[in-house]
Symmetry: C2
Subunit: 408 residues, 2 copies
Amino acid sequence: MNGGATCGQLRLFADLVRSGTALGARIDSGPSGTDVRLRRVPLGPVAVFGAGNFPLAFSVAGGDTASALAAGCPVVVKAHPAHPGTGEAVARAVTAAAARTGVPAGVFSLLVGRGHEVGLTLVGDPRIAAVGFTGSRTGGLALVAAGQARPVPIPVHAEMSAVNPVIMLDGALAEPEPAAEGYVASLTGGAGQFCTNPGLLLLPAGPAGDAFLATVARTLKAVEGQVMLTPDIARAYTEGVRRWAAVPGVREAARGTAGPGPYAPAPAVLTCDAATYTAHGDLSGEVFGAAGLVVRWSGTEELLRLLEGLEGQLTATLHGTDADRTAALRLLPVLEERAGRVLWGGWPTGVEVCHAMVHGGPWPATSSPATTSVGTLAVERWLRPVCYQSFPDALLPAELRTRAAAAG
Amino acid sequence: MNGGATCGQLRLFADLVRSGTALGARIDSGPSGTDVRLRRVPLGPVAVFGAGNFPLAFSVAGGDTASALAAGCPVVVKAHPAHPGTGEAVARAVTAAAARTGVPAGVFSLLVGRGHEVGLTLVGDPRIAAVGFTGSRTGGLALVAAGQARPVPIPVHAEMSAVNPVIMLDGALAEPEPAAEGYVASLTGGAGQFCTNPGLLLLPAGPAGDAFLATVARTLKAVEGQVMLTPDIARAYTEGVRRWAAVPGVREAARGTAGPGPYAPAPAVLTCDAATYTAHGDLSGEVFGAAGLVVRWSGTEELLRLLEGLEGQLTATLHGTDADRTAALRLLPVLEERAGRVLWGGWPTGVEVCHAMVHGGPWPATSSPATTSVGTLAVERWLRPVCYQSFPDALLPAELRTRAAAAG
């Protein structure tokens, strides 16, 4: 996501605030006639840990910052050490905008530091009321534990990892060319370092699937590896692909070429059958980068068992045609249980920032399946409801007053 | 809350389901024109631990059960050992109603057992997706820890304890009689065993406050203790009052009479000044039952400091008149930060079941400040959002179809 989209995201949340709907005001009376009114209030100062892979849209002025500010929460960003310069530049822009619009000092601030100490101190500070994190499972789990260990525990909304299964149904293989090209583009874009990267593709066994995989091999051969975000990430990628390839029953199905320098490893697609995948838990983990695992399945029953064995995911994608609808209707309840976003066709990379987006999902894709980190629904993760009973108009917050309500 | 109110609560949630609004459907398109639709889906089977003090409205067929069923979640209730007969009778009624209305077997069930084993096994079962609990802080924290320790952690919505501060502002003391009578009635109703019992009253120092307290003493003298829920609770009450009274600077201000038998201890009101209260952390804990602590304050600054030192609460109540509005406007932001429900006048006992009620609050009043256990907003604690991208109408859930949306 580029700078324009990042600004678009900030504007979307500004519109939400202007609309007055974000606080979910309710004006009601109880069974005994008591006047009862509800609004959501901000939790308090929020600590945001930006993602390493999205220096703009998921970092200093990214989704968590935008939604927390929209909720009325001050934000303290822990800059990601992979892009300190970008982080500082964005923070300067936010600070300048805040000064120009009369936002009080301290509503937005940036902390820097390479190790874990700054971050853990931040999460442990009694003045911090909630945390947003996008990154690795290790990092996310450490912050979740820190949030729970406080004398007053706080919510830690961590988006951690996912393999974002893509399920090819029979009808989708009639034209292997566009499907294979779409897959390779989604798998290798941004060196495969998107949270929604399609790391797992479930492909029918048989000649049509073979043809798809052959097309993938031809297409990927022409793709050059890109320089990854950090040397550590590049090393972990190469090691991860090697680990997959070492599992008995797994073979390499496609490979691109390495890019220039030591940190642009070649994209790779490996493949195995369903029994191999199920038998080796290691294959279900994420290899961060442009590495795809293609698991071949035979019959809807085997496919269902594969899906039922999956951990929580950010996304799950079905590719098919009208002829596949009966199968799709059997699979959908299983996918809804395991993912925050389901797609019919298309590819999961690329997150549309809008009112209906969900970028989240069941554990361990995130630590807080009830919320999203992208889209306007995200504002709710920084709010809690408060109810006002029998208050005179003059003491009520503006959005709950009878006069304002009648006028609005 | 009686049986009629319990049925009213079930009907309110039934109306919510019929209204079609509970799932928060959103139909939208993203910045690039992609069709994106959102609805909430049920988390899965919910374990409900009913409250010991409300065998009807907060137990087997109580708020958590009603809201979870409305969300589409099957419910497994762990019966409270203090009222096994009532629990079973209610469960039989629910099961009969389910059979008559064609609800599948297993959507509702009841487990019994006196120790912790049944409950902890239930929370640890991989098929359970969320937990609702109303009870003691010890019990709640144990379940929260069990929910977090699972391989796949789940949300545990525990409502634990609170002292529900009531703040008397100067204007409220002009007529001490009705205020004192209201206080004594709220403090002693149900043997003081309501979650919203006003355990802490903040009273201005000086003659007007003295007159209020003298009226409380006269009123309480005529009140007889009621038999408490269990022998253990009665013993803990007596011990708690003794512990408060032993703190230097605390004196007894009012006392009722003991009721018949060993488990109907006398209601009691103790009092101290702000310095004593602040210096002795033990005084801020809850004594479950009809025990009130009255803390005398001098000036708004001291009152503010007292309030800022409070833990999270279910409720906070302000008593005052028009003349107290300036003070009230200073106190309100502090109260909103610390309570799920704020009241202007009246008493916190008695929870109006409606769309705008919040029965919840910051830690440690509850383990999940972002939700409520009473009122229709409670349905959200059992749901999570799922987004559907580029789906044909025929594959969408009914509430997200274009045709249904256009017709509705």
